[in-house]
Structures are given as structure tokens and as C-alpha cells.
């Protein structure tokens, strides 16, 4: 497996073709959500200090990338780069966002087309919606369903944020219906004050959108908060089973339903009938037979995340101790060799387990989501024996037998992107 280790060349390639650059605009937030990844339940993140990302550091990073992009520009090729604004609540630092966009749009063209996205709690949406619409932001609004479901999303005084958030979303929908239709999505967290059914139907019936629903993140829980976490946590599949009309909900949710999602993964990974691209089908290059241990993304192959303190990470979902570089007042400190070595060091800890894992060719386990990654005896959360894989395959085929139309629908209607 030695030749599967990445090198500085891979880091360079990924930076040249970076699909997404995400700024942690501020670590401040105007809500105090109980289950927030930066709140009491979790550990492993920088302390929240109400900081704002300084524009001069963002400029240093953009200039650093722009030079790389300019050096590697090829005629006619225009690659999309998504510029993400993350929080805290990003709308608490709109001047920074405006400066970044103005700066990007003033740079000489280098074969990149920028578009913008943001996850927001919508508390300040009424104030900034004109700007967001003008720049065609892909907006992901966090809303946990109806007022009761929104119960953990409270302001500093402990008041439920639902009324204000709901009013702001309705205002956006009414004032900019085309934008709302095209660019707005919803994200909801499942917990013990809502259910998949209540979230799904509330948002679909009210706004005509199907929300992404996620359970609470079960990685990085503080040891003294485990009980509290367990009380708040609600299992996604169990919540669907408890729905008033479970089968109708499953049909409506299609691939958002866990059983159908499992079948989707099975069809994509095991049937031998699905290929992503012509090159994948031809499989003529070593690039596609590349199968390193675990499903961890190589740094910057999908995104770069920069914290409000200037730490450079490969994703916002991983612990800050795994930073690959940082932005100082003088410039970007990112050692490509060191970043590659760090990645190889963590990923190859699981090499032996991967060799005998039945999911090794379709793994989606990020090593940075394994809590005991620093321990010598660390074990992969997603290890799958041949027997378990066989059981899973049997389950998928039995599920397909009960819903035979799903094979055709998945082949025709589904698109999976990383």
C-alpha cells in the first residue's frame, strides 16, 4: 500500500483544483443551541471568543490560491469554486463577506467561476436578504421543524427562535420567490423535541422543500455529558418507524429514507452497473484504481476550511487539532509535504483493518471522526466483516424485493455527488 500514500504533488493538485473554500466568518452566534458542536456537549474545538475573521488574512489566502490558479490556468477551462461562509452565525459579520466577494470579483480571471454559499440560522435574514439574493447565495437554512421542534434553538435569553426565524423565511419567500425556489434549502437536526415525520412534513408543506435531516453528531462528546447527549439524541431510522404512516413517509422521502439509502449505496457500490464518468467506466488510469485506506478525503480534494483564528483544515467537521497549516499576519503557512505526511500518518493507522474490511472499496469513514484516533489500539467505526457485508447484501436484496421499482428509480433519478 506504500504507493497509495499521498505526496506534496497531490496536495498541490488539490489546491489547484480546489472545489470549495470555506471561511469561518465568526465564532459568534446569536443563538445558543443546546446541541451545537461548539457548545457544552462537545470537546475538541477552539474556545468561542466572539471573534471575527480579519479580512487581511482572507486576502492573504485568496492571493496564495490565486497565484496557484494563475500558474495552472488552461485555455477554455472554467472550474467552479464555491466560497462558503460558515459560523457561528455568518450574518453577524457581513462586512467581511462583502469584502471577500468584492475582492474575489475584482481579481483577474484565472479559469475559475466563484459562487457563494452560506448556512444561516435566518435570525438576521430580513436585514441582509437583498445582498444574498443579489449574489445568488446558495442558502442552507437551519430549521428544526415547527415551533416545538425548534425548541433547542434558543436565543441568549433562552427564548425559542422559531417566530422570528419563520417570519424571516416567509419574508424571503414572498419577496424573492424565484430565488427562494432555486437557491434555498433546509437543514434540520433531529432530537427528542421533534421527529423525522414532523420536520419533513412541516418544511415540505410550508415551503415546498425537502429538508436534509441529521441526527446529533455522536463524535467528540464530552465524557461528563454522555447521559445528557443520550437523552437529547433521537435515532433517525427509529423515528421513521414511529411515524403515523411509516410506509407513506418512506415513499415520500425516497433516498432520504435509510433503507432506500442503503439500497442506493448497494446499487452504486456492489452492482457493477453504476459508473460516475466515462473515465470511471474505462478505468484506464491509475487515478481511478487508487484505493487508499479508509474513506478519508485527501486534503483539499473537496474543500479547505479556515477557522476564525486562521487555522487551515480540510473540513469544518473535524477537530481543530488536525489543522494542516495556518494564516499568519505575513502569509499562508502551509507545508505541502508535512500536510501529506500528516494525512498519511493518520490514514495508514487503519491499513491493516482496511485490508480485511469488506467495505474497503466503498468506504465513507473519515478517520478524523474516530474518537480514539490518537490511541495505538484505535479501531475503525465502520469496519465490516465479510459476514456482515453478506448480511447487508441480503438485507438490501430483500428490501428491493419489497420495493422493486426502486432499482429503476435509483438508476434513472438519482445523482450522487461528493
Amino acid at each position: 500500500m506504500e504507493n497509495l500514500k499521498i505526496s506534496s504533488k497531490d496536495i498541490a493538485y488539490n489546491l489547484v483544483h480546489l472545489p470549495q473554500l470555506v471561511f469561518e466568518v465568526t465564532d459568534a452566534c446569536n443563538l445558543r443551541c443546546k446541541y451545537c458542536g461548539y457548545a457544552d456537549l462537545y470537546e475538541g474545538y477552539d474556545k468561542r471568543e466572539n471573534l471575527k475573521f480579519p479580512f487581511h488574512k482572507a486576502k492573504l489566502l485568496i492571493d496564495y490560491l490565486h497565484v496557484l490558479w494563475q500558474e495552472n490556468e488552461c485555455g477554455g477551462v472554467v472550474e467552479p469554486v464555491s466560497i462558503g461562509f460558515y459560523g457561528g452565525e455568518p450574518l453577524l459579520n457581513v462586512p467581511f463577506i462583502e469584502e471577500v466577494i468584492a475582492y474575489l470579483e475584482g481579481l483577474p480571471p484565472v479559469g475559475k467561476k466563484f459562487h457563494y454559499n452560506m448556512t444561516t440560522n435566518a435570525m438576521l435574514l430580513d436585514k441582509y436578504m437583498d445582498f444574498l439574493v443579489e449574489k445568488e447565495f446558495r442558502l442552507l437554512i437551519s430549521l428544526d421543524g415547527d415551533k416545538e421542534g425548534q425548541g433547542y434553538r434558543v436565543d441568549a435569553a433562552g427564548r425559542n427562535s422559531f417566530d422570528r426565524v419563520f417570519a424571516n423565511i416567509c419574508l424571503l419567500r414572498d419577496r424573492y420567490p424565484e430565488y427562494f425556489d432555486k437557491f434555498v434549502m433546509f437543514n434540520s437536526v433531529l432530537h427528542n423535541k421533534n421527529s423525522v415525520e414532523s420536520i419533513f412534513h412541516f418544511i415540505k408543506n410550508t415551503f415546498g422543500k425537502e429538508p436534509s435531516i441529521s441526527p446529533l453528531n455522536n463524535s467528540g462528546i464530552r465524557k461528563d455529558k454522555v447521559e445528557e447527549f443520550q437523552r437529547t439524541y433521537r435515532n433517525y431510522a427509529q423515528s421513521i418507524r414511529e411515524a403515523t404512516n411509516c410506509e407513506a413517509l418512506k415513499t415520500e422521502m425516497f433516498i432520504k429514507e435509510p433503507g432506500t439509502k442503503l439500497l442506493l449505496d448497494y446499487i452504486y457500490n456492489e452492482s457493477g452497473n453504476v459508473y460516475y464518468t466515462f473515465n470511471h467506466l474505462l478505468n484506464s488510469s491509475k487515478h481511478l484504481s487508487y484505493s487508499p485506506p479508509t474513506g478519508t478525503c485527501t486534503p483539499f480534494s473537496k474543500k479547505m476550511f479556515v477557522t476564525v483564528k486562521g487555522r487551515i483544515l480540510q473540513c469544518e467537521r473535524i477537530n481543530h487539532e488536525f489543522a494542516l497549516g495556518y494564516i499568519s499576519d505575513k502569509g499562508v503557512e502551509l507545508d505541502w509535504d508535512k500536510a501529506a505526511q500528516q494525512h498519511n500518518g493518520y490514514v495508514f493507522r487503519y491499513e491493516r483493518q482496511c485490508r480485511s474490511c469488506a467495505h474497503r472499496k466503498a468506504c465513507s469513514q473519515c478517520v478524523y471522526q474516530i474518537d480514539d484516533i490518537q490511541e495505538e489500539t484505535t479501531k475503525c467505526n465502520s469496519y465490516c466483516s465479510d459476514k456482515q457485508a453478506e448480511q447487508m447484501n441480503t438485507y438490501c436484496m430483500a428490501y428491493l424485493d419489497r420495493h422493486p421499482e426502486l432499482y429503476r428509480r435509483i438508476l434513472k433519478e438519482v445523482v450522487v455527488r461528493g
Binding site: Y13, H17, N72, C74, G75, G76, V77, V78, E79, P80, G111, K113, I267, S271, G272, N273, V274, Y275, Y276, T277, F278, N279, L281, L282, N283, S284, S285, H287, M397, L400, D401, P404, E405, Y407, R408, L411, K412, V415, V416
Partner: protein
Amino acid sequence: MNTMKKYWLVLSPDTFIWLKGENGLLYQSVNHTQVPFKNVGTIKSLAGQLDDIDNLYRVELTEEMLQQPEVNGWVRQIVDKQCGRLLENNGTGNRPASMKPVLKLQDGVKYYEWLHRQGIDGCVIQNLHEVVFYLNGSASGDDVLHRQLVYPSTTDAVADREKVIRFVKESKVSPFLSKLSLAGNLLVFPHLEEMAEELQAICPVKLYITVEDALNGLPQLKEWADKLSVQILVNDFPSLEMLLDANGWCAGLQFTLVVTSVQTYEAATGIINKYGLEHVELVPAYTGENLPFFEDCIYPDAGELAGVSLSKKDIFIRQTLNVTDFGKLYIEPDGKVYANLDNAPLGMIDDSPHDLVYKELTEGHSWLHIRDQEPCRECVYQWLCPSPSNYERVIGRPDLCKMAMGNEA
């Protein structure tokens, strides 16, 4: 109470079923066995149900059906050749199921067109795998061969070196670009070695030169062969023997021997054996006068199609793209760029490789030229045949086949 036994016939997910009128064919893509059958009567009804993707490749059979000799023989062949299984339907609900081999290519041309409309289409260029540059013509070139394989023409035009280098540099953004071919009378192309080395730093380079031209510059050829991959094109076998007799360093060379008749085939194999040549490919070529040779020796017949060994993926590839042409651009010395030299040019060397690739994928007739036209699309062997080739274009026939509509089952 009806106690008649019932069965499930379920095909393997590696088995293809093709139904064309009264002809049917099952092809098992792991053990490469075939079950040709007449698609009539009860079998037609059963095969039609198997072919419906929503039936999960299974069909219910009654004992009465199985007692019909045609059905019984058909099912027995399916089971014996491991194209499928016959299981008793005991009514417990444990029905067998299988996923019919249907390709889902997620990001095909429609996706590229969608990206293009958004003004973002960076991934299209990744479909560029090889560029063939004809740098000039040659007195030993052949304009008919030039349309069938990598072989110099007789043109007087000479490529612009700077434009070649620029084109390659613009192409390197494709991580799948794996070969650059330089063809022509390379011995007279100015600063060839310098250019080839510059290109080699970007992508592996291969030189193509006729044996007649090679004989005019053996010392130079040896120098190139020490650094680069060199393919000698042979349409004149005495010249090849001269080359082989003249030096003892041919180990690094590779050879294309053009075969146009049974006699030239025998001559070619005689030389291969006499000199112990390695790295040789024999390539049949149409001369305009040797159609009988093609009909006798090249056109596939039922026996050859029955012996085909293709995997499921091989079949998917043939259903999707042209195996010979896909990913390749040919650039003539006058700067015209082609996806296939028998089709109209896509553009000029001054255009961006990205734009040329996009144009070929969305408007072209080469890379995605598959065997989906008459008469092949009415034939059950449609996807067991090779992709449409230059021979068909040069000969002017839509197929090179002895199958008389292909259905000899």
C-alpha cells in the same frame, strides 16, 4: 385445490438478455457462455417479463410451462450455462431477485451540457487521453492507410512547432492524458528531439516513422530509441528486412506491420519468426482492392461471435462509447483537429483542447459512435461486436459482418 408446482426462473446479474424480433440471446459475462433462442410463443412471454427491469430479472413458471419441450430446453440451457437459476416457489415469500445489467453513467454528455450552461465545465477535458500530432508528410506515406491507422500521409504541409507545444501545455490539465504521438517523416522535422523531450516532461511521447524513412537516418533513430518510445510502421517488408539486417539494436523498437492479404500476413509472420521480433502488432488495412481478404479473414462470423469473451463492463463500454476513438484527437500538419480522420474536422490547433473535447462530446460523430444503427441495432449480437471501426468507414459499409442481419440463432 391446485397443487401444481411453481418455480422462479431468475437470471444472473451478470447475464445480458437481448431480444430482437423473433431472435433472443442470453450472454453470461463471467463464464462467457451464450444461449441463443427463438423469441416466440411461451418463451417470448417469459423473456419479455425477464427483460422488464421492474421484475428484478425473475419470472414465475408453472410446471405446465416447464413441460413444454421448448421451454424446458431453454430453461435447462439457462441453468446449465449458469445464466440463471430455477428455484421452487414454495410460497414463503422468499422470492429470488436480481439486478438486470443496465448501465447508469451518472455524468455523461447531458451533465457536461448542464455544466456548460452554468459556465463551469472544467471536468470535460478529463476525457482527453491521447493526442496524435502529424508533424509533416512523407514520400513513403500513404493517404489510404493514414485514414485507418497512425500512418503518415503524403502532404507537403509542416506543423507549427510552437503551436504543438502550446496545445500540449493546454491539454495537460487532463490527469488522464497518457500519450502523445508524433508521426511523419520525423528525421526532417526541425528540432524534433528537442521538442519531443519538452513534451515528454508533460506526458509520455511516442514517435511513429515509416521503415523507409527510418532507413535514411539510422544513427539518429538509435539516439531517439535510447530516450523515447519509437514505433516503426511497415508497409514494405523488404525495407523492414533491410532495417533488421543493418543493425543489431532493434530491441528498443516497436513495429506495426500492415497486413492487406493472406500473402502479406504470411510474409509478416515469416519475418517475425526469422528475426525473433518482439513488440509487434499486425494491423489489417483496406487498400481499396482487397475486400475479399476482409470478408474472408476479418469479418466476424457466427462461430467467432459465439466465442466472444467480454465482461459486463466491456459490454457497457461498447454500449456507451467508441473503444477505438474515445479520448483521442488527431492533429494534421495544417493544424486541423479531428476526433477521427474520416470525419469532418472539429477545429484548429489554435482552439483550446477543452473546447475541442466539448465539441466532440456534444456534437461530434466519433467518440460516441456506437453500434446502434441499422442493421446492427436489429441484431442480438449488437453489443458483442467491436465498436464501429475506420475499416467500415473506409470500405463504406455500416457493418463488417457475415451474419446476414446477425441472426443465425
